[in-house]
Symmetry: C2
Subunit: 255 residues, 2 copies
């Protein structure tokens, strides 16, 4: 397939590399920041185009920009029969559907950073405005991933919300843990095997069945001592209390 | 080394298996529940003893019981010069120090479950009442782990608190994510590659440098929509709000 990108950030960069590797060609890259478009285009041997219309010559154009920039980009794209996709978990297909006959969503359930290698596995949630478009998107997604799921915008939004809990909020817990250790000149490295095991467990059992810790067993004394240790960090204390309460609630409901 | 256990739960079971594998001998197992002691003893070809004094014949006895049961066990153990250890992250060495001359702590920074294989990597935080005891514990721990750190009870308590944030609370986030997906008949499997990548990232960079998501970029609309999606789940909503606030606070402090 012949693909172009509007946007030149993390998502565009990693998807472009992935598609190239799978034998697709990447035609053109457009960005509101021409220097960024040139940088990505150079990396993937594509053409940086100065006008958004330059991205509409292939089979499909992928709008990979921040969620709140999608409406402005949609306005700028001239009327076209080319397949137009966005990559957002949170935004509905209708953002594109009101203007383009052939459109869809290709949402990678992953986190990308500029200087990291592409993740080994990327599930895709896809959706399209019609059968022919869906077939095209399915083919494209399946050429680079074994996990491709067709779902509507409401379902995808739930996946995105769940992804925020698992990725963004877990990472923030690691930030808090790192700070707790730093106070004693200890390193997060000490917890990496535990984190690995936490993740390994939920491949075998539901996380609901492997919950452990002071809150799960109702160890009030340890919880009080932990809160005292958190000292003046009010937000970490509130999180500790709320997690403990939420874990207790589930214990009570299970009984 | 010749080791005995008081307690026959997850920690005793996994440590006993680990020590045996490293060439140590496990002598005796005592438990307040004799049937549990017999079950573990049978598994590791040790002797289930009916009296706590039966565990004091080797080089070292490991008290691997729930934190709040340690004081009662300490009372029951007769005066001895045998090295007495506990395995708790939260409890101080002084719990043992007031009664035993040779005592220490061997805290495995890991999570164990009854029916899972032993984790591949277990860091140990160790502490002892004197140099000779510390040397013994160090030798024992190093025979089964490459990550052995000597630290005092206060430092260990911080490690335990950080472990609660990374393991217990992360797992609870996975529980919430699974519930969000279940509402749409979707499976947590869809998020496993994202969870893997979240963990892979913090091996390369501090979690503070890889925080992403709606809160990090100040995307108020997505946050409002996520809160609406959480519907009547008040606890999940409170967690969402508190995490977003805490992430925003750190963004502001960095600026």
């Amino acid at each position: 397939m012949n693909v172009s990108f509007i946007g030149s950030g993390n998502v565009a960069t990693h998807l472009a590399a992935l598609f190239l590797k799978a034998g697709h060609s990447v035609n053109a890259v457009y960005s509101a920041h021409p220097a960024h478009a040139r940088r990505l285009a150079k990396k993937i041997h594509a053409q940086a185009v100065p006008e958004i219309s330059g991205t509409l010559r292939g089979d499909c154009v992928i709008v990979a920009v921040q969620d709140d920039s999608i409406p402005a980009v949609v306005k700028e794209i001239p009327a076209t029969d080319c397949l137009v996709l966005h990559t957002s978990g949170a935004e509905p297909l209708s953002l594109l559907g009101k203007k383009f006959r052939n459109c869809g969503v290709l949402y990678p359930v992953q986190t990308f950073s500029m200087h990291s290698p592409s993740p080994e596995s990327i599930p895709f949630c896809i959706e399209a405005s019609n059968t022919a478009s869906l077939a095209k998107i399915k083919k494209l997604a399946r050429s680079v991933s074994r996990q491709v799921q067709v779902m509507n915008s409401k379902e995808r939004k739930n996946v995105h919300l769940a992804a925020v809990f698992t990725n963004n909020f877990s990472n923030h817990l690691f930030v808090i843990a790192e700070n707790i250790l730093k106070k004693k000149n200890l390193k997060l490295e000490l917890l990496l095997p535990l984190i690995d095991e936490t993740v390994a467990k939920i491949r075998l059992q539901s996380p609901a069945d492997v919950q452990t810790g002071p809150a799960q067993r109702g160890d009030e004394q340890t919880m009080r001592e932990h809160l005292a240790l958190l000292g003046t960090d009010r937000t970490a204390k509130s999180l500790y209390r709320l997690f403990s309460q939420s874990i207790r609630e589930r214990v009570r409901r299970k009984k």
